[in-house]
Symmetry: D2
Subunit: 274 residues, 4 copies
C-alpha cells in the first residue's frame, strides 16, 4: 500500500418547501476505489427516513422526502486517498470501435447535454487530422480549456454542449460536456464524472467550488481521467458517480420546487485519519 | 393459455460501405413476453461474425462489422402473440413520486430527444389542471395525436420533442418523444418503446411502416402501453426494446458512413405456426 | 413518516496473520430500507486501503487486505429503524410456480447448505398435506424451531441443512438453512438473510449474538420475513444482505488462514440520533 | 474475420405429465461469442406460450408450462464457429487473490456440488507444491481425467464433487465439479460451463453425448477453457451458460414430476450456412 492522505468531503443544503418534496441525492463517494471511504454521516433536520439504491449506471443514490417548511440535509465524509498524481500516458492508442468492449458503446451516443451529432463537423474539422490516441484527447481538452471562459451563472439547466461552444462561457460541467461531445463525435467513448476535487498540492483561485465535473475517456484497454476545466493532472479526486452527462449524476434531483436557501460544499485535506 | 396468432416480423438492409464499418442492430423481439419468439434467422451477405449482448436497459443488441463493398443484413422471425387487445383502464391512478419504485425514476429525467425541461410550462398549461391518472395520460396522447401531422422526412436525427412541438410534424418516434416529454414534465415516468406493429384486425393506410415507436407510462403499480401516433388499443405489438428515447433503441447504429441502399421491414400475420 | 428509533450496530475483529491476507467483509446495513443508515465508520489498525463493490445478489461487500501481524477491523454504524413490529398476514396465499416472477426462481434451487433435494421426502411428509400459504410456512418455522436445539459450536462451516436435520442441533444459520430447505422442497422461494437483530422490546437470553440469520419467503406478491430461530415477529431487524445461503452473505471471507483472536458484535438501542 | 464452420445444435425432449408443469430450459447458445447464432427454432407440441429471461449469471433461460398429457419440446439452431482450436498458454500465471477482479471472487466459493471446503486438504496435498499458473490447472485436469472413470448412470442429482472423488466414477459434469473444487480450494476462480461439444476434427467414442460440461478458470487477466472430461483443446465449443455449478446451468428444471419419455441432443457439423 502506498502512502495515504485524508480528506473531509461533504455538503450541506438548506431548503424551504411549501409541501413535502421527494428528492434524490448523489453526494456519497463511489466506493469502488481508489478513494477509501472511512466514515460518513447524514444529518437531516428534521429527521426523515432515507434509503439508498444503485441506479442503472451503478451510482449510489439516496432518496428521501424533504419535509414541508425549513429543512437541512448534511452529508459529511472522511476519505483516504493515495498520495499520487493521476496517471498520464501520452502514447496510449485509441481503440478501434470494432475492438471496444460492448459496454463502452453506450458512451459513444449523444445525450441530453452532450451533442456529438450537432458538433460532429466541428470535431472533425478541429481534431480529425490529428494522430488518434491520448494526445488527440489531450488536444481536445486543451482546446476546450482555452475556448471557454469560466463563469458562474453563465449556463442554465438547459444549456447544452452546442450552446457553450457558441457562447464560449460555462462552468466545469459545461467544459466536460463540450469535451465529451468532441470525443464521441470521433467515436471515442467518453463519460461524465462528478465528484469532489480537493486542492491537494495545487493553488487554486479562492472562488472555486469543491464539487467538480470532469471526464473519463476509453483509450487502450481502460478509462483515463481528463479534466477540461483545470487541464492538469491532480491528486485526490473523489468520484461520486459517472454517466452519460450531468443528468445521470446530479447532486440533487427534486420532484417539486423547494427553495434552495443555502448550499455549502467542502473538500479539504485533514491532518490525520481522525 | 389463451388463443395465439402468428406473425412474421423482420427487416432487410442493403449497404454499400467504403470500409469495414462496425454496426449494432436492435431488431430482435424482446423475449420477456407477451410475444413468444418461435424461430428466427439472421443472414448477412457476405457472411460475417456477429455477437449479441444486453445493454444497460436490458435490450438485446447484435454487433457485427459491415464489410467493405456491398452487403445485406437480413433478420426474419416468427412470433406467436396473444389474440387480445392491449389492456386499458381509465381509472388507474398516478403514483405519487414518493411511492414510485427506484428504477422508475430514471424515466422522469430529460434525455437527448425528450425535453420535459423545455416543455414544462406547456405541459402544465395544457394538462396541469386535469385529474391525475390514466385519463390525463390519455389526454396527452390525444393532444399529441391531433397536434402533429404525420409525414416521412419531416424530422431528422437531430429533431427533439421541442422541435416537433413547434413544427407540428413528425413520424411515430416524434409523436412518442413529445408525449413522453409531457408525461415526464408532470413527473409521470414514461419510456420509449420500439418494435414491430402489425395491422391485426385494423385497417391502416398503406404507407405505414412496420417498425413503430410508442410509449409505456408508469401508473398504479405497472407500465401501461400508449400509442401517441395511432391512439388506439391494438393487438400484436412486438416489443424490440425500451429506453429513455430513440437513441437507446436504435434499429441500427453505425460507426462510419455506409450508404444505406435499401431497407425493407415486415410485420405480417401468417396463417399457421409453420 | 412513522416514529423512528435508533440503533448502534457494528462489529470488531482482531486478527493475527502470518502474511498479508485478502478478505471480504459483509457487515454494512443494506441501504434499500426500511432501516436508514445515518452514519458509519470503518477503522482498520494499521490503516489499509479498502474498496466496496456490489455482488451478484446486490449485497454490499468491502474488500481489503489484512496486513501481516496483528490487526483489527472495526465497523460501527448508527441506524434509524421504524418503531413497528414486522408484518404478519396468516391469510396470504402461496404463489403458483407458473406465476412467480422470473427472479424468484433462483431461490427454489438447492445450494451449498440448503438441500431441498435431500430433504424433499421429509418436507412433503411433514408439510405436504397442509393448506398452502403463510400458515404452511409458519408451520415449517415452528417445526424447525422445535426440532433443533440451539447451541454454539454444534455446527461447522461444512454443516448442511441435512446434517442439522439429523443432529437436531445448530445456531441461527442452521435453523434458517433447514427451514429454507423445507420451503424450497415445496417449491416456495426462500432466501437466506443475514443482519443485526437488536432486542427491541423483547427480553432475550444474555448469550445471544447480535448477528443473526433468518429467512424471507415469497408469498402472494412479495417477500415476507420469518425467523426460525426466534419464531416471533420483531422490531428493528437491520438487514446486511440476502442470498441463497450463508455463503452468499458471509460476515467475513478470508483468502488464507489468519487467526481470529477476538470478535465483538453489537446491536443496541440508543436514546437519541446522536 | 477468420474462416467459419457451421454446426447444427439442438435437442428434443418428450414428456408425459399428469398436470401442467412449469419448466425452465437452458439450451440456447450464449450469444456473447465466439459462436454466431445464425438461426434457431423452438417447437412445442402442443404449442404453448414461452418467454425468455436472463438469470443472475447472465444466462438465457426459457420458461414455459409443459401441458398435461404428452408433449414435446424441440430446439434447433444453426451456429457459425471459428475454425480454430481453443487457445492454450502454458506460461500464464495465476493471479494473486488481491489482484482478482471483484466479480471473480464469486467463483472461489463452495456451491451445491463443488466442495473446495471438503476437498481442501486433498487439493493442497496433490497440487499445493506445484508452480502456480496454467500448468498447475492443467495438472488438476489431468489428475481428474485419470482419477475418474466415465460412466453414464454412475452419478445422481445428489452427487457432489466429494462423492465422485470417492467413487471415482462420473459423467462430464462430475469431472467438471471435481476439477473446479480443486481449483477453488487453491483460491483459483473456476466456473462451470455447459454447452454443445461437437466432434470437429476429432474422433470420439460413439456413446458420447452432445451436451457437455467443462470449466473456465481465471488466470492472468481472463478466463481460460479447460475440459477435465476430454483433456484436449477442441474446436467449436458452443457455450450455453456459466455458473457456480450444474445447478446454475441446468438443461431443464421442472417444477413437478413429468415423465421424460425421450431425449435427443445433436451437435453436428453441416456443410454450408444454409
Amino acid at each position: 500500500m502506498g502512502s495515504l492522505r485524508h480528506l473531509r468531503v461533504g455538503c450541506e443544503f438548506g431548503y424551504d418547501s411549501a409541501i413535502e418534496t421527494p428528492a434524490v441525492f448523489q453526494v456519497q463517494p463511489y466506493e469502488g476505489g481508489p478513494a477509501t471511504l472511512m466514515r460518513h454521516a447524514w444529518e437531516t433536520t428534521p429527521q426523515v427516513e432515507r434509503h439508498g439504491y444503485t441506479d442503472l449506471y451503478g451510482n449510489g443514490c439516496q432518496r428521501l422526502n424533504l419535509p414541508a417548511g425549513a429543512s437541512t440535509v448534511r452529508y459529511d465524509a472522511l476519505v483516504a486517498v493515495p498520495d499520487a498524481t493521476e496517471e498520464v500516458d501520452l502514447d496510449v492508442a485509441e481503440t478501434a470501435v470494432t475492438d471496444l468492449p460492448d459496454d463502452a458503446l453506450h458512451y459513444t451516443l449523444p445525450s441530453r447535454y452532450v451533442l456529438p451529432d450537432v458538433l460532429a463537423d466541428e470535431a472533425w474539422r478541429l481534431f480529425g487530422a490529428q494522430q488518434p490516441g491520448y494526445r488527440r484527447v489531450q488536444a481536445i481538452v486543451e482546446h476546450v480549456n482555452g475556448h471557454l471562459e469560466f463563469g458562474y451563472g453563465t449556463s442554465t439547466p438547459l444549456t447544452t454542449a452546442a450552446d457553450v461552444h457558441e457562447s464560449r462561457q460555462g462552468v466545469c460541467r459545461d467544459y466536460a460536456h463540450l469535451a465529451i461531445s468532441f470525443c464521441r463525435a470521433l467515436n471515442i467513448p467518453a463519460r461524465y464524472v462528478f465528484g469532489y476535487l480537493p486542492d491537494m498540492d495545487v493553488v487554486l483561485p479562492p472562488a472555486e467550488m469543491d464539487f467538480a465535473a470532469w471526464m473519463e475517456v476509453y483509450l487502450g484497454d481502460r478509462w483515463w481521467t481528463f479534466d477540461p476545466r483545470n487541464n492538469q493532472p491532480r491528486k485526490g479526486r473523489v468520484v461520486i458517480g459517472r454517466g452519460r452527462d450531468a443528468l445521470d449524476v446530479a447532486m440533487v434531483t427534486t420532484y417539486g420546487a423547494p427553495v434552495l436557501k443555502a448550499m455549502t460544499v467542502w473538500s479539504d485535506e485533514v491532518a490525520g485519519a481522525g
